[in-house]
Symmetry: C2
Subunit: 195 residues, 2 copies
DNA sequence: ACCCTTATACTCGGCACCGGATATACGGGA
DNA sequence: TCCCGTATATCCGGTGCCGAGTATAAGGGT
């Protein structure tokens, strides 16, 4: 049975192990410290499942089992050659091939016609405000990271997110105006349906 | 136990049932016809699970059980008052509150430094090309829909997607140039690590 | 010396989800 | 008339994921 690239947490684990061998809990700590959990969903339950799966597929090996005092055993894992190959191949695929992602907002906005125009305008504006806040928070964070001397490459995904958030805000602004002014295509019918 | 808003497929089911009562298979057909499955992930297995869950929570009721010849029984469901309320409330939440979504590309690009710059450039350009194709395909589709006389509100989510794809393409173009010219912050170290 | 909080490190049961299997009806070509 | 592919309609077994639970150790205040 070949390894299934489902949970990106497995990717993060492989990436961490390229630096040095670690035990699962340490991986989690490191991910926290580096704010990686903002990009890859971290969940203790899943972490151990994922590590076990990587181990079964021999992408990582149990390098050592430490035991300090009466504490639970800590299994330290290291990445294998196959593991490194898998990491790189997976990474290339993730970047090169855009994959259909079912985003919550797309689902929501596709059914916005079910709400009366006034309510729709309200919720869109609320989102717009929230996105605005995220944007300023992100700008502050980027400022801080740059100030700490971290290279841009270390937080490139935030740069990407910034661009996406800006685009979203602009679209939301357009939609809000078009709804307020009734210029969105199909507006008359929309209003009629809600009386 | 209160209903959990996990699977957006449940949202689509509620939305469909505002039009008329349907049995599960008919819901699936209708979603196909309207290209809703591009926005909400449709899966027969999940559909029946989701419908059952909605039924348990009394957001829909079994309006009738039809039986034609020797065919399997078809249970026709209708939306309830609570169901309609839930639909609207869920919809408002989806639109108004941006939710952290763990996007595959963000995970990938955050680790792009693990690939040698030349490979990184290659995969980013490949994605850029793919996004370009999606953009033209989408433009054609929008043209067609508008030509069919469908109001913009009926395909508003595609409009949103268009805006996001454009922004992504621009960002990818920037990153590709910055990588090619070595102007992305941290480039020297990146190159050094891969020799 | 004692207690309480926080950190360490993992375990486990439940459940949503998915893909493929199942079973019948129907239409059309040879 | 017989077969076979497609449409109709649902079911079900396996699995990955999640959140909450568990248990010990370390630290620090009084």
């Amino acid at each position: 049975m070949t390894f299934k690239r489902t949970n990106p947490l497995a990717l993060a684990v492989l990436a961490l192990l390229t630096e040095r061998p670690m035990h699962p809990y340490e991986m989690a700590q490191t991910m926290r410290e580096r704010h990686q959990e903002e990009v890859v969903k971290l969940n203790y339950g899943s972490l151990y499942t994922v590590v076990e799966s990587l181990h079964r597929h021999e992408l990582i090996t149990a390098a050592a089992v430490q035991k300090a005092g009466n504490r639970p055993e800590r299994t330290v894992y290291a990445i294998t050659g196959t593991g490194t190959a898998e990491l790189h191949s997976w990474l290339r695929a993730l970047i090169a091939e855009p994959a259909r992602e079912y985003r919550r907002f797309e689902a929501g906005i596709s059914m916005v016609g079910l709400l009366p125009p006034a309510e729709a305008l309200d919720v869109v504006q609320r989102r717009s405000a929230a996105v605005g806040e995220q944007l300023t928070a992100l700008a502050v964070l980027l400022e801080k990271l740059a100030g700490m001397g971290l290279p841009q490459l270390a937080w490139i995904e935030l740069d990407y997110r910034l661009a996406m958030l800006r685009a979203e805000r602009e679209w939301l602004a357009w939609f809000a105006t078009a709804t307020r002014e009734g210029t969105v295509g199909g507006y008359p019918g929309w209003e009629d349906r809600h009386r």
